[in-house]
């Protein structure tokens, strides 16, 4: 490789490259869109130890350990993953680090693949940690390396904040060689790393000293920069919003481009504000920069023009600031195309039975959240990773009379992430609740990551596969059974028995994800138009391959994988192999 090789990388790939070049030796993460590829790409470097942890809390704790032991360490997660990891994060802010520790958090403005759109900058403020925010792949690479330097200079874990558009947009980066960083020495230092009250009180003072030093640093750091254009309009922005503003306004404005979004630079902002006629803050989600500007007495406009909700666009900025006309709109008669469970998805059979039995379904986070969509419509709640079991428990305590008509559904990876403690609670506090673990042998939604139950590591090395059935029995569930989700009658019979039982039970619905390369696809099925009576029974499973024709149902052969669920629903026996036409 030459020193100046250029490559087109997604932001996440560029962060991974930054980890490599920074001499990072340890990566531990849990998958979550839009952060997943950082860790997948980091795993491709032999020099980096990289693993999937069962959840974000374990991942961050492991990275803390690696850092204290003297290795540059990293953990990456989506915004809601930081909620799970928040406990260690808030206290490692006190203890500080051994070698550089960087935590990437990817926000999902617009909720492309998330249950909320919280602004992770609030965590940086609350935990008193510096946060860098790149706006393209080149900065993803460079800021990752700078984050390690800052981490070691100020003895502090450093956040790297991404957004869906930065994480998943490719742009050109210039590659460099890996820095040779030897492990920092480890010496026992209980005053620094044992955060019992006596030590923590001492570290608390250090945190404020560090904050003061960081607030000075950000005023002069080259990570924050002013770009002069017309001084009639001044824009303060960071990350993806900065690129939208530049696209919209070009040289018709001057920019204070913030690379560090916590702490914010008071003197630099005041200087910029004094030299432009009209000042705007363009920030997606919360009004953090704007509020800070007002606090230091700078007159700005921000959320009076721009929404707290969702993503911005260059067109939106142009029309709000320059008053230009918005572009033409979408034709009115274009039906929406929401995501659906894939043809051959093993979850479809379960949700069909749940829908048919009219059960209350406490749902969870994964592909199977799509079981909430019509026509299956078989989900009553979805809150966060692992919540399904706790929510069901609460429902069943308050309404014991309906416990026999309610279930929780949770995926294999989600169960390991944070469902196990919920199951322990069912046993300990004795609700006769029925939990279905949808075991499709992979973490599917985020794009097929291994997990502790699959028997492979992130680097595709063999690992002991956690036995889900044994875990359920070990925590005290006596009724544990397996079903094939494609056997609709079998699923219904098992559910009836377990719902009638007067104690907690777990049904393991086992069949691998239809998109796994190891799963055999059957020949597409076809409808016998003579036998089809258009009763629409088959349409109840919500399969995208089944289409209502003029005279009969038909099956799209480019989509059908021959799973056979529709055959089980077809009373006239009109659906069969290709030869039945």
């Amino acid at each position: 490789m030459t020193q100046k090789e250029k490559k087109l990388l997604i932001g996440n790939g560029a962060v991974a490259r930054g980890l490599y070049e920074a001499g990072c030796v340890f990566v531990s993460s849990y998958p979550g869109t839009p952060s997943t590829e950082i860790t997948e790409e980091a795993a491709k470097y032999d020099e980096i130890y990289a693993e999937w942890a069962p959840n974000e809390k374990v991942a961050v704790e492991s990275a803390i350990g690696a850092s204290i032991a003297g290795g540059r360490a990293f953990s990456g997660m989506k915004h809601v993953g930081l909620n799970v990891a928040a406990d260690p994060v808030f206290t490692v802010s006190y203890s500080g680090i051994g070698a550089g520790l960087v935590i990437a958090v990817a926000d999902d403005q617009g909720m492309h693949s998330s249950q909320n759109e919280q602004d992770s900058r609030n965590y940086a403020i609350a935990a008193k940690l510096p946060m860098l925010e790149p706006s393209d792949s080149e900065e993803c690479l460079r800021f990752t390396k700078r984050a390690f330097e800052l981490s070691e200079r100020f003895d502090v874990p450093v956040f790297l904040r991404l957004s869906t558009r930065v994480a998943h947009s490719q742009s050109i980066v210039t590659l460099s060689e890996r820095e040779g960083v030897a492990l920092a020495e480890y010496t026992k230092n209980a005053q620094k790393y044992v955060m019992a009250p006596a030590n923590a009180k001492v570290r608390r003072v250090e945190v404020e000293k560090r904050e003061k030093a960081l607030r000075e640093f950000v005023n002069t750091s080259d990570l924050n920069k002013i770009e002069w254009g017309s001084r009639k309009i001044g824009i303060i922005a960071a990350g993806i919003a900065y690129t939208y503003a530049r696209e919209a306004l070009g040289d018709n404005a001057s920019y204070l481009k913030l690379g560090i979004v916590n702490p914010l630079p008071d003197k630099l902002i005041a200087e910029f504000a004094s030299q432009v006629e009209k000042l705007y803050v363009i920030e997606e989600l919360d009004d953090i920069i704007e509020t800070f500007c007002r606090k230091i007495g700078a007159k700005v406009e921000g959320k009076s023009l721009f929404s707290f909700i969702g993503e911005y666009t260059p067109g939106m900025i142009r029309s709000k600031i320059l008053g230009s006309e918005p572009a033409a709109a979408l034709p009115a008669d274009v039906p929406v195309r929401p995501p659906v469970l894939c043809p051959g998805c093993p979850h479809r059979g379960i949700f069909h039975v749940l829908s048919k039995m009219k059960l209350t379904v406490s749902g969870d986070i994964g592909c199977y959240t799509l079981g909430a969509s019509a026509p299956l419509s078989a989900m009553d709640t979805t809150i966060c990773m692992g919540a399904s079991i706790g929510v069901l428990h609460g429902m069943n305590v308050v309404r014991p009379e309906t416990a026999g008509k309610a279930v929780a559904v949770i995926g294999d990876s989600t169960f390991i992430h944070s469902g196990i403690t919920g199951l322990i609670n069912l046993v300990y506090n004795k609700t006769p609740s029925t939990v279905i673990i949808l075991d499709n042998s992979i973490t599917a939604m985020t794009g097929h990551q291994q997990n502790p139950a699959t028997g492979l590591t992130l680097k595709n090395k063999p690992a002991p596969a956690i036995d889900l059935e044994a875990i359920c029995r070990a925590v005290g569930v006596k009724r544990v059974r397996s079903v094939d989700p494609f056997d609709l009658k079998g699923v219904e019979a098992a559910l009836k028995e377990e719902l009638a039982a007067d104690e907690p039970s777990v049904i393991l619905a086992r069949r691998p994800c239809a998109l796994l390369k190891t799963v055999k696809r059957n020949k597409p099925l076809a409808v016998n138009a003579v036998k089809c009576v258009k009763c629409r029974m088959c349409m109840r499973i919500g399969c995208p391959a089944l289409v209502m024709g003029e005279k009969a149902m038909s099956i799209d052969p480019s989509l059908c994988v021959g799973c056979g669920l529709c055959i089980q629903l077809c009373r006239p026996g009109a659906i069969g192999g290709n030869d039945s036409e």
Binding site: L8, S169, S171, A328, M445
Partner: protein, 195 residues
Amino acid sequence: MNNVYNIMIVGVGGQGSLLASRILGSVYMSKGLDVKVSEVHGMSQRGGSVVTYVRAGDKVESPLVPAGEADLLISFEELEALRWVHYLKKGGTVAVNTQQIYPMPVITGAAKYPDGIIGRIMESGVKCIAIDAASIAAEAGNQKASNVALLGAASGITGVDQSVWEEAIRQTVPANFVDVNLKAFALGKAAADKI
């Protein structure tokens, strides 16, 4: 940013827009231009409407193509072409695969799949290249190469040499699928040339 060439690739999750966008990114990077490509991952990929943006020029700021500024819209499905055609600038081009995949609201009867989409697009004042990419790809040896067949159909209006496209395909596609994809590209280009 008038010198930026704006392409959108739209379709249904799972149709191969990620590969098509990577080929396009490689094409424009090899021409020494600044390039940004915005991909879609996660839940929206599961059979939902997906849109990928490819932008190339001296300097590209936003990875998103602003509405009304796309030069070329490549659509793997008819309804998706209609959904995004208003992103084209005047005189822009749609390259569309004449495949119809019904979205769930149409399947359940809650909505109707619009009639005469290709005609409507043609009437809207943009250039339209409509080909049956799936059949062309099948002829090339693998129906899954329909994304590359459609790229072939669209390639003519980009003004980029065929050899640049072919090199990008070689660099992007797994080795054992290169030949079938090169063939699909050539057949797609030939189909568009006949229109």
